[in-house]
Amino acid sequence: MAQMKFMCDAERCIECNGCVTACKNANDVEWGVQRRRVVTLDDGEPGEVSISVACMHCDDAPCMAVCPTDCFYKTDDGIVLHDKDLCIGCGYCLYACPFGAPQFPKQNAFGERGKMDKCTYCAGGPAETKEEEYQKYGANRIAEGKLPLCAEMCSTKALLAGDAQEVADIFRQRVVRRGHRDGGWSGNQRRERMRTGQGDDLSAADSLAYDAARQG
């Protein structure tokens, strides 16, 4: 059984927000809701890092644990989905989520929340017809054998989606190629040089580009 996961390679993310746009477009997401966001830490400083975040489809999902209506469920592929017919807009999933994934359309009086909306891993949700599914949850690309559009569209292949094992393998190969000392987020030679003020060495950038082209 597959365990579908997202992984964002912060080394590659160039905060182009292509994933955000792709998601909005593929799922026809409601006005005011943005299922995916790109976070940049230390923006404008030498160590700037960007990472694309949406629902991480947790194994032990906090939203699922606190929902008063029990509207969440996990598919066989490990994707966390929710039933909008059961959602009451209490906001508890928003309190619990570590990634700020659940969002609520604000159309009612007194700031009352509408039905929660979050990333579905492009796997739709429970509905009678395909039209209803699209209207409520957006695209069901998984049913068509496709991966989420955000990852498919990522121009630098920073955002990876797929079975956890597969994603981990790709990332491990990248790490080996980059020659990191202890894991993917550290000891990058190009970054070390930049940090110590030795300038950007283009040969190292080449290696990254080669890596990008090869591992797709």
Binding site: T69, L86, I88, F110
Partner: protein
Amino acid sequence: MSHFIDRQSLWRLPLLALLLVVGLVLSQSVMAQADPEREAATAVPALDADTWRQVRSGETGPNFRDSRAGSDYNLVNASGETWRQLRNRWVSPFGLIVIGSMLVVIALFYVIIGRKDLSAPRTGRKLLRWPLVVRSLHWTVATLFIVLALTGLNLLYGKFVFRSLFGDAFWASMISVSKVAHNYLGPLFGILLVVLLLRLLKRNLPKRHDITWFMKGGGLVGKQHVDAGFANGGEKAWFWVLATVGILVIASGVVMDFPNYGQGRDTMQWANILHAVGALGLTALAFGHIYIGTIGSEGSLEGMTTGYVDETWAKDHHNLWYEEVKGEAVDEQTLADEAAEGTRSDPAPRSG
């Protein structure tokens, strides 16, 4: 010679063992302390520890960017897990335990000790205790309290019972109605409770004899009666619980009810915990209040339904108040006649 050495080393053995144990414990704690620090230091040299501390704290600095409009969430929201554990592991089970034990205690009390009967036959002469305004307020607040308690309990525990019992379709409307009722009746309850509390404030200011009342357990057990004015120690305690915990529950409820004033997620998490703990506690205490007001003591309920109490009841439970107002006692028959004619004007000066 060798014998001597053996002797010498013998006392060293326990010392050595002690050192070994101390060393092990120390190294463990040092490793445990160093680990997260080392992780942070080696994982991303480009991002300094301060940045990661900021990520974990949930705060956002000047160099934090989020492509989502109006988003003030950091990369990771660690407080969510704390809230989840507090709610699911502590508040939720202990709420049931507290309410359940209260019901058991009340049931046992009723079975073993039973109703508090009047010490003498009724005199048939009545004293006005609760004027119409107070009675209306009381019953409105009481009804809202019950509705809020039931819908609130449904929000916390309903999914474990009703979803499998009634099926998804019924459960969906049931929980949806619960939430809407809870959110819209809550503020109404808040306003009316404050009005009721203000109306009864003067009668509930603590007095010296309240201490004696509590020392003697309010005369709950046995035949004895303890000095009490218009409100006895127990009634005052309930008043002040509502005036403190009640207000806290209302305030925290309002924080969650109107998310359109820019309060953050962390604020709402704490509001939720305070709201749940306070409301579950109040629900448990409300059972005690309901018990004493109904089957727990003879002649109490009629005060809140008709507004009048019997002289005997007043003497038993509020002797100091009785001394103040005994001249105003009205005959039962006169009351009934006046009620039929509609001439009695409410409220009387010394009540409520």
